[in-house]
Amino acid sequence: MSTTTTAASSTTSTLAREFAAVLPDDCLITDEVGLRSYECDGLTGFRQVPAVVVLPRNTEEVAACVRVCARHGVPFVARGAGTGLSGGALPVADGVVISLQKLRRILEIDVENRRAVLEPGVFNLDISRAAGPHGLYYAPDPSSQQVCTIGGNVAENSGGAHCLKYGFTTNHVLEMEVVLADGSVVTLGAPTAEQAGPDLRGVFLGSEGTLGICTKVTVRLLRKPEAVRTVLADFPSVEAAGETVGAIVDAAIVPAAVEMMDSLAMEAAEAAVGAGYTVESPSALIIELDGPAEECDEQFAEITRICEEHGSTRIHVADSADERARVWKGRKAAFAAVGRISPDYIVQDGVVPRTRLAEVLSQIAEMGSEVGLRVANVFHAGDGNLHPLVLYSEAAGEHDAAEDLSSRIAELCVELGGSLSGEHGIGADKACSMGRQFTDDDMAVMQRVRTGFDPAGLCNPGKIFPTPRLCGERPGPFRPHPLEEAGVISRL
């Protein structure tokens, strides 16, 4: 054991020496306390202290750091703000964390071409803030948009409430500068809508840091819509709210956002920010329309009628920008707010075909009561993206039961024809469930992509794909890739 430790620390000191040669002193963290602040991301149940943390200031320094790692065969994990909820930025034992937090410049707001050129550490909301004075904004809006970075959004292909109408990060990124696992720098995509050849930009987007490190990104900006109409509608049951969403779709209306909350989630959000929700209501929808004024008004009237037809008990129109912000503040604060009604909680992320929402919600409620745990529901109803919050008490020894329930909910989504994740990613959290959604061949082919980008497997290993080490002795569907068996590639 002591031999291993000595070998590891010797490698670490060699690494630190080589990093010091390419970075200034204040861009290198090797002390225990400093390292510990990087031991986890937003998925705090998974922790691993890295060997070294580096904070390069530009693409050249990122590339130099990656070359040091490549030279020593040491795995590295890129990290933005660390707000991810699937452990995508979980460090690797004896590995390096490459933090992008010093690359935080907005390089260009190109008003005429409606695009922005950004370093990866720019906060999502700051893009729209910078574009706002020009009448433009950046559409993907994850709930964490005040604190999450565009680099993290690129890695996770982040969504948000408005992706129902406007799409995800992948639909808004035109071009990226990427440092590959050998330290070389390539450009993926082009700064234009039209692109030629296979879409490698799209392959990289959402690859959770396993194919390289994005050091610069060009995104599309949209013109702010002329009109925005937001309504908060209470319903006597979750089913009634679900049917309302179906009726809106049937009416050929594509709202900018349709969010659903149940009473537990509203109770928590109300306690936290006082958004004006009716906490006694079993469920509520936030429906937002945007676009040209004529259309918005006409469809808004239609939506109000549909809500009434489906028994809405209260329709509150947010008729000012302030009021709209208040309604959304409650929704966006809902995850954290759950801390007010439960000592501990797990945020789940799964997707079902929208038409199966009622079915999945009643099954989740049943599964919760079977094990005696409460589940709060906040979700993007328009696209079937659920965020069940499993409430539990660590002190009462409920952790394992909660983890188990949460995993079973994600797997239930797959059984109903959906997906393990709509926006939080697979990361370390759900790698062991991937076999529920994909066959061995599916995953082996994904690994071939990985091999093409990162033959040595140094970029964020242990994420997305199940490994025997990660998934323990649990009998799982995973088999090693043939190239791995042949020793051509390895995961760690």
Binding site: N113, N157, L188, P198, Q437
Partner: protein, 384 residues
């Protein structure tokens, strides 16, 4: 080239055909873009996906549909229209029977790309057969999905390399209840960028915006009252040179656009290029005089232009160079049989990844061999 295509009727048959056919293979559909991209190298056996045709599952409430790759888009649109839905893609060659798989493999798109993106944005799941017969699936039947790598993106615009696409899942949009087309006279191509901005600076949100035959066409989609109001607002904002077209005139104008981009001249090459909107003026200026271009159409909001030039290597190369100098991309669409003109522009830095991923997917380059050359060169000594 062998003339009798293998025509598998199922995914299993397709898998076996791809795996068991010796030597290079080329996937075919309706044959509407057989001469797009770089020419095939060597004697490739055609394997048709036309037998994998039709809707596999349409879920109107979820606004998704899965289809065989050999399904003609026009046929699919007809099926979907019965539910008031559509694939928001209007590539011109769909009228010649182009299949969903073929449109996807060639990254084709039409004017609606402004409002809805291209198939890269609309495809949410894909099933593909690799050269060694491995069948892989990515994405799924839900629009929002970040589980695993998005293999569909690798196959979009890959011209049948990397894998033969067997099945595709698409997200759908409602058919608009009403449309209007506003036409603005813009006789000089130099005026196109400014005219485009005049439209996009208004809040009317055009679903398509194309310049063809000396007019800028703005397509508005929405409710009857909505498009009526938006169209008259747009005309007011644009001034005396703008008018709302009558339905028949609007249909004719858009058909003329399709005629312009879906052209197959005997002695000229067709190119589709894209630049940033502000560079479109630089591209269009002198296109005719310097490069001998004809049949120019342009989309000022996306920066996409389609035109023909003489089917000579020097002329086509000059287009690639000019577009690359403007920071854009260019692709050869149609070319006369037997003409050897460069299909692709300067090799991008990312070609190193195309090559390494291809080595993992199809080491002998059996699928669509030569289509992406020189970005993806045919390896020396590849088994025939």
């Amino acid at each position: 080239m062998n003339t009798t295509p293998t025509s598998p009727a199922s995914l299993t048959e397709l898998r076996d055909a791809v795996r068991d056919t010796p030597g290079p293979v080329v996937a075919t559909g309706a044959g509407t873009a057989a001469d797009w991209g770089a020419p095939l190298v060597g004697e490739a056996t055609p394997i048709s996906v036309a037998g994998l045709s039709g809707v596999i599952a349409h879920n109107p409430g979820d606004m998704t549909v899965s289809v065989g790759a050999g399904t003609p888009l026009a046929d699919l649109q007809e099926v979907l229209a019965a539910s008031g839905q559509r694939v928001a893609l209007d590539a011109a060659r769909a009228r010649r029977g182009a299949t969903v798989g073929g449109l996807f493999a060639t990254a084709d798109a039409g004017p609606l790309a402004l409002g809805f993106g291209t198939l890269r944005d609309l495809v949410i799941g894909v099933t593909t057969v690799l050269a060694d017969g491995t069948v892989a699936r990515s994405g799924g039947h839900v629009i929002k999905n970040v589980a695993g790598y998005d293999l569909a993106k690798l196959l979009h615009g890959a011209y049948g390399t990397f894998g033969v696409v067997a099945e595709i899942v698409l997200r759908l949009h409602p058919l608009p209840a009403a449309t209007r087309t506003v036409a603005l006279q813009v006789p000089d191509p130099a005026g196109v960028p400014a005219a485009g901005r005049a439209v996009t600076d208004t809040p009317v949100e055009a679903a398509a915006l194309e310049w063809v035959d000396g007019r800028l066409l703005a397509l508005l989609e929405g409710t009857e009252a909505g498009v009526e109001g938006r169209a008259s607002r747009l005309v007011d904002l644009l001034g005396a040179d703008a008018e709302v077209l009558a339905t028949a005139d609007a249909d004719a104008a858009w058909e003329a656009h399709r005629d312009a981009v879906d052209v197959r001249p005997d002695d000229r090459a067709v190119l589709r290029v894209g630049v940033a909107p502000t560079r479109l003026g630089d591209l269009l200026g002198g296109l005719v005089a310097d490069l001998g271009a004809a049949g120019v159409t342009a989309a000022p909001a996306t920066g996409v232009a389609t035109f023909t030039v003489p089917a000579e290597p020097v002329a086509v190369d000059a287009v690639h160079t000019r577009v690359a100098d403007l920071g854009g991309t260019s692709t050869l669409r149609a070319r006369p049989a037997g003409s050897a003109v460069p299909a692709w522009g300067p090799t991008p830095s990312s070609a190193v990844l195309l090559r390494s991923v291809a080595a993992a997917f199809d080491p002998d380059h059996r699928l669509g061999r030569g289509r992406l050359a020189p970005w993806l060169p045919v390896p020396e000594g590849a088994s025939a």
